[in-house]
Structures are given as C-alpha cells and as structure tokens.
Amino acid sequence: METIINDYISRELVQDAALLPLSDDTSLLDSGILDSLSLLQLVVFLEERFGITVGDTDLLPQNFASVQTICAYLRAREPVAHG
C-alpha cells in the first residue's frame, strides 16, 4: 500500500523534483506537496483505488500528513481492497 500511494504522490502531486525520492515519513503538508486541491486529487485516487469513501470528518491533517499516516488511516478502515 505504501508503494502504491508513494508512487502516485511522487508521480502526480510532487511539483518540486528536489523532494524526490519521497520517503514515507516526509511531511506532505510542511513540504507543500499537499494543498487543498491536491488533497482532493489524492482523495479521489484513494477512493477509486481502495474502494472507500472519505467522509468530511476524516479530512484531517493528521490523516494525510505523510504516506505512513495515510496508510494507517486506510488500514483503520474496512474493507480496503489491496492490489
């Protein structure tokens, strides 16, 4: 899961090549990778890829702070379609 999300963020959302390769604990917010619109883009990807719906109440910075926290958030949800 980490690889899938890291690849997507690295490919679609990182605008500053100096931030690559992206580590799983890099702060997506402090580094400026995620803003309001790129978060939406990421949410759309996660919903399609893992078959979930991200509710308004889940749109917390701590859930999307890094690849690790995104994965922790997804793992806390059921079901998550891997692969």
Binding site: Q15, D35, S36, L37, L39, L40, V44, G55, D56, L59
Partner: protein, 350 residues
C-alpha cells in the same frame, strides 16, 4: 480630541446607524424610494470621503487606462459608492426568506443551472466580487437551490478588527446571507487543506457551489496561480474552479449579478456551462475572460477597485504607483466598507 479622530468616529457612527437603522427602514419602504435614498447616501459618501474617492479614481485610471474618459471615471467612482450603499438595502431585504429582494431580482439562465444539476454531479457557479454578489448567491438559495459558497467572510480576517466589530458584521451582514444558504461558507485559508474536498462533498450531493475567482492568491498559493488576460493586462489568479470541475465532473457556469440603471432591479445572469477541456490555464482563461468583460462593461460593480493593495496582488497594477496613500485601504468588509474603527487598514493579513 483631534480632528482626524473625530472624523473617524463620525464615520463609524454613520456606518453603524446606516446598517442598523437606516438600511432596515429603507428595505421596508417601496423599492423605488428605498434604493433612491441609498443612492443619495452613496452620493454623500462620494463627496465626503475624499481620500477613498481619490483612491478609487486613481485605481480606475490605473486599471482601465484610457478606456474611460475623465467624466466617465468620476461617474464610475460615484456609482461605486452608490452600489455599496444599495447592497446594505439588498441584505436587509433578505428577510422573510428573501422574498422582498427576490421580487427585484430576475434570474436569467435558471434553466442552464437546472440542466446542469440534472446530470447529478452538482454545479460550480463561477463568479466574482461583482455587485451584490453575496446577495445573489443567497437569492439562488431563496429560489430553491442548495447553495454553498467557497469564500471567506472578510471581516473574520481583517487585521486589527475588534471582536465587537466582527460580531457587528456577523449580525448585520453574514447572518442574513447565511440563512439562505445550504451549508456554512467553505473558507479557504492557509493550512485549511480540506476546503476542496468539502466543496467536492457538496457537489457529490448534487448541490450548487459558488466560487469567486477574482481573489488575489494567498502567499502560500502563489505557486499554483496562473496568469490570465484580464482587463487589458494580465492577472494572477487561482484556477481552482477548473481543477475542482475536472476532479469532480461538475460543470462550471458563469454567474454574475448586474444592477440595472434604476438601482433597484437586478439581473442574476447564469451562463451555459463553460468548456473546461484543454489545459487548466486555458480553461480558466475562459472564465476569467467572462469576468473581465463584465467588469469592463460595468466597472463600478467591481469591489476590488477600492483596493490598491489587492489590485497589486492581482498583478493589475504595480506596487508603488502614484495612487494616493489612502488607497492602501482595501475592500475590507462587507462590500467596500471599511472596518468600523480602522478605516484604511487592509483586511487581508500583511
């Protein structure tokens, strides 16, 4: 007491009196009389607020260049004050679920919005700080649409504004407008990364989301801003409305509220969907062109004309122009009114 301090206190007293007593009374009178008196008040402000008048005149000249004759420029400035005064009456006519104002507002293009919503992906209404735009959004709510606005209530962010002033504007301005909207405003600000997702949530529920695109980008957003042709020059704006449309599949329709020459009737014009194909900047340029054309046609409707700082942030004028010093005042709150106790203080954080 210094002369300047006394003048400032008188301005505060006049504004409080106008918003809490005069405008509510004017809103109860026949519209022809109510808006006529509002225009008289606008004319009085035009004559008495010399610094603001000079700032507006300078900005009109800097932004519109030679497109307006000196006489037309002065008329634009006077009209700007009139429209500002009229907006207070608009807000007060939002009582009784907006019916008193709805009788004066013709919604053209309603069928475009209904057709867009029939597709089930919501609709993005692309607008600007143009005329009584906030009332226009609430009018749509009053006419049956579930409307949510992406936008900041300016008084909540005005630097140096007291809590009393914020509560004042909450009561006289925000509350009547918000009552006719489906959800609280989605207010973009530094660190609020949930804004676009919240808007997407409203669109998924097949609701209407309004966005005013003529806002100067916050410092943290400048990297994602684009330069588009605007008012004969180019402006730096955020193309978020197009990105949102591409991500959600919601159509983008232009929505602008025009006040007619009699000042009491207004037309809320909704366009057919704007194509968002092609690059984001290209698609966004189509929206910006519509706003630009509306401003060029009716410049007094544009609230940012009062703000040299914001016009500079938009890239429409250079910093350090020969605008009068008082022109650093901004559109502040609401619709061109200065903060009550801090005339001339920018509403946006430094």
């Amino acid at each position: 007491m210094g002369k300047g301090r006394l003048a400032r206190l008188l301005r505060i007293a006049e504004r409080v009196t106008y918003w809490t007593i005069a405008a509510p009374v004017l809103a109860l009178l026949p519209a022809a009389i109510g808006y006529r008196v509002a225009c008289w008040r606008g004319d009085w402000l035009f004559r008495s607020e010399a610094a603001k008048r000079a700032a507006l005149a300078s900005n009109v000249r800097l932004v519109l260049g030679d497109e307006l004759s000196p006489g037309a420029g002065q008329a634009t400035v006077r009209d700007w004050f009139r429209l500002t005064s009229c907006e207070a009456v608009d807000v007060m006519r939002l009582r009784r679920k907006g019916q008193p104002l709805l009788r004066l507002v013709e919604i053209r293009g309603r069928e475009h919005l209904e057709a867009a919503l029939a597709a089930g992906k919501g609709a993005l209404l692309c607008s600007a700080h143009f005329g009584s735009f906030d009332c226009g959004f609430s009018m749509l709510g009053a006419s049956g649409f579930k409307v949510t606005t992406i936008g900041r209530w300016q008084h909540k962010y005005t630097v140096g504004m007291s809590g009393t002033e914020r509560r004042f504007w909450d009561r006289v301005y925000t509350a009547p407008l918000q009552r006719l909207r489906h959800r609280p405003n989605i207010e973009p600000w530094a660190g609020r990364i949930e804004v676009a997702a919240q808007a997407a949530s409203a669109l998924r529920a097949n609701e209407v989301v309004t966005v005013s695109i003529d806002v100067p980008p916050l410092d943290g957003d400048r990297a994602r801003a684009v330069k588009v042709p605007f008012l004969g020059g180019s402006a730096t704006l955020l193309p978020g409305v197009v990105t949102l449309a591409k991500l959600t599949g919601a159509p983008v329709l232009m929505c602008l509220l025009h006040r007619s020459p009699d000042y009491r009737h207004q037309v809320l014009q909704i366009s057919e969907p704007v194509p968002v194909d092609g690059g984001t900047a290209t698609a966004f340029g189509r929206c910006a062109a519509e706003v630009s054309a509306a401003i060029a046609k009716s410049p007094a409707h544009w609230q940012y004309l009062a703000s040299t700082a914001d016009l500079a942030d938009l890239g429409l004028i250079s910093r350090g122009t020969d605008a009068p010093a008082a022109s650093s005042s901004t559109i502040s709150t609401p619709n061109g009114l200065q903060p009550l106790s801090a005339p001339g203080r920018p509403w946006r954080p430094a």
